[in-house]
């Protein structure tokens, strides 16, 4: 009861707890800062697109995200380095083709990012 009274009179502890809960989403299991990685529209777009497709080629991703070759390859490489996407290079009709697939870690990172966004919306809605 006393706790409830202090909550009602001072919203700061509850706010601090909420913010703590949000910050809990920010680091991934390996301690990596996945939030920073996904806080870029091209990288977030790559991961979101791959989450609903079995695989997407470089040109499909480029068209979907309206990105340039250089921009897309830089961001895709960052996701690949983080282990969120897997890149396969092959030849199709004698032309080189690059395809991307999301990994289990990438799917989990996107899931946590979504939960983080939802938590942010919940907390900030309460404060409005």
């Amino acid at each position: 009861m006393a706790v409830k009274a202090s909550k009602d009179s001072d919203p700061a502890p509850s706010r601090s707890r909420s913010l703590q809960a949000i910050s809990g989403f920010v680091a991934d299991d390996k301690g990596g800062d996945f939030h920073k990685l996904l806080n870029d529209r091209v990288r977030l777009g790559i991961l979101s697109s791959l989450a609903v497709s079995d695989r997407l080629s470089f040109s499909e991703l480029k068209k979907l995200l309206e990105a340039t070759d250089g921009n897309l390859s830089v961001h895709a490489r960052k996701l690949e380095d983080a282990g969120y996407v897997r890149c396969e290079k092959m030849f199709a009709d004698r032309h080189p083709k690059t395809e991307y697939r999301i990994t289990k870690a990438g799917r989990s990172a996107l899931d946590r990012y979504l939960k983080h966004m939802e938590a942010l919306i919940r907390v900030t809605s309460r404060e409005r």
Binding site: S53, D54, R55, E127
Partner: protein, 192 residues
Amino acid sequence: MPIDIQNQAEDNLRFIRSAMERAERVSAVSGAGAMAMGGIAVTAMALSAGVESLHTRLLIWIATAFLAGGAGAAGSWIKARRNNLSFSGDPGRRFLLCLIPALLVGVVLTVSLLPTQQVGLLPGLWMMLYGAGVLAAGTYAAAPVMHMGGAFLVAGLFAHALPERWSNVLLGLAFGGLHLYFGYQVYRHHGG
């Protein structure tokens, strides 16, 4: 300040949803396959136009459904292969999971109603059940697929409201015309 954070978070969620929707539109349903289904249905309408017996006409349409289903599946398989996508990948699987229950209900109702006096209800039920299935499955496909599902529902309502003699034309217009029109939209704007 909290409002800015909230707006940004909402904007990020909208961006993720939009990226997912655009990506799904590259895969799954084949516009060419749908057009082939439409072509088969138009042929069936022409074939059954001169047939007097309602039962025989409906049997022609049942055979057409299997043939057209095969053409649609083949179209999706070819499209998936051309785009180096798995035919049984996530979007395709979810699409089928939404479509199949309505089709199964259609099969059960067809078997139950075919030998009865209520057989005239079948064309409208077929259109509405197919429409319901396609509308649900359209959540995982390009926008025209969902619109086609809605159009089938409306066509089914017309079939129920109009006299039985219109059923063959309505089946042709719905399964032929709608597949041809929306199939072309998918073919033209959503990767073949």
